[in-house]
Symmetry: C2
């Protein structure tokens, strides 16, 4: 503790100072953490970039969440558990979470304005691997449960949350033996700036229409409108 | 040990007798293992079916293999590690492995002759979860490394093994800036017994042709012929 207080008082340790409020403990080996926040676009990588750590962290995160769900929801089948897990570890969720816990301020890149959000989610996974390598499996598991899952996710909400309205609509239609189809109504604009208009039909009736820059997004938007209109 | 020898001498314990040569240790709680080998098609499931265990075992297996590769191949990038891991945990590999270690004799199903091979790979994943729950994380990790990875896989061979000739061919074509295309030459047969003839063209020259029951398989076969002909 004294050693760490001395480190904090040194101006050289701005990285450790910034890191502590995020992780809540004093690292044994700070090099893992430097590596975790170093994107491959950085030219001079003193400790290497975070791609291998991301590979390791992704699987550690996945297995800790899997085991957590397995024990916390003993009566749910593997389909429900898989669905909840995929909502927690989705690229979008991890990117948002990384920003929420302020990892974005620590990430080093050379991407300038062209930074995709995935850089943050990847750094988060790399941080998990850094903690695992630095403090061991049990400590890392505890960190993921106490600092990530429990404060940021509500399992009951995740269970009922609709991650894809298209899937949700199709599930409803199949359950009710109802024929449906997504039809492309129009396609306008230039190659790199297309606009797709998709109609969702129940039997022959158009129940929702939506436009977007990709067919996938327009279908999702049309399905959302249909789910809302039909209160599915 | 004496307790287990007594159990072995009892005719009731044919399951334990069959299980021991496969896992090489005496379980603390045999119920996990009964559950691991019970397919959902079984009507009377005394210990439940193996679907939740499979969900857990899959992620444990994945994370142990990931960590193993991370440490064993410190100079390989995450792309190479991901590729090797996917070869080890592929459905096909796990199904074959499950039969190799004779898990198939223990699996209980009600599927009769319609048994897909995936039943065995899934039971293998469920067995991993049973070991994890029964004997703990460290024991299970050791089991996966010493009884599965090291006796059954050679990392150097896996690194050079071509898992998809189509991918391998496309990679070669892109690297050499060569235009290629897979073209459907003919489609014959009835709906459930189709035969697709695919030609692989380099610029306009047909360099390989193959037939199969699906376009995907025919493309893979044509790519394999092309790779062999061009010694790629």
């Amino acid at each position: 503790m004294l050693k760490w207080l001395r480190q904090l008082s040194s101006p050289k340790d701005s990285f450790t100072k910034e890191l502590y409020p995020i992780i809540g403990f004093i690292p044994n080996n700070i090099e893992f953490y430097h590596q975790a926040f170093c994107h491959s676009s950085i030219g001079l990588q003193t400790y290497g970039n975070n791609e291998r750590l991301e590979f390791l962290g992704d699987s550690i995160l996945n297995s800790v969440i899997t085991e957590y769900l397995f024990h916390k929801m003993p009566n749910k089948n593997e389909g429900v558990l898989t669905d909840i897990r995929s909502k927690i570890v989705s690229r979008k969720t991890l990117n948002t979470l990384a920003k929420k816990i302020k990892l974005d301020t620590l990430v080093q890149t050379n991407l300038g304005d062209k930074m995709p959000s995935s850089v943050y989610g990847n750094a988060f996974e790399a941080l998990i691997a850094a903690i695992y390598l630095d403090k061991g499996a049990e400590f890392c598991k505890e960190f993921i449960i106490k600092k990530i899952i429990e404060p940021h996710f509500c399992l009951n909400e995740l269970e009922t949350e609709i991650s894809s309205y298209k899937k949700h609509f199709i599930h409803w239609a199949q359950k009710n033996n109802t024929n449906y189809s997504f039809k492309l109504l129009s396609e306008t604009g230039q190659a790199h700036n297309k606009n797709f208009e998709i109609g969702l039909f129940l039997k022959d009736e158009n129940i929702a229409t939506a436009c977007a820059g990709s067919k996938k997004k327009a279908e999702e938007a049309a399905a959302k409108k249909a789910c809302q209109a039909l209160t599915i």
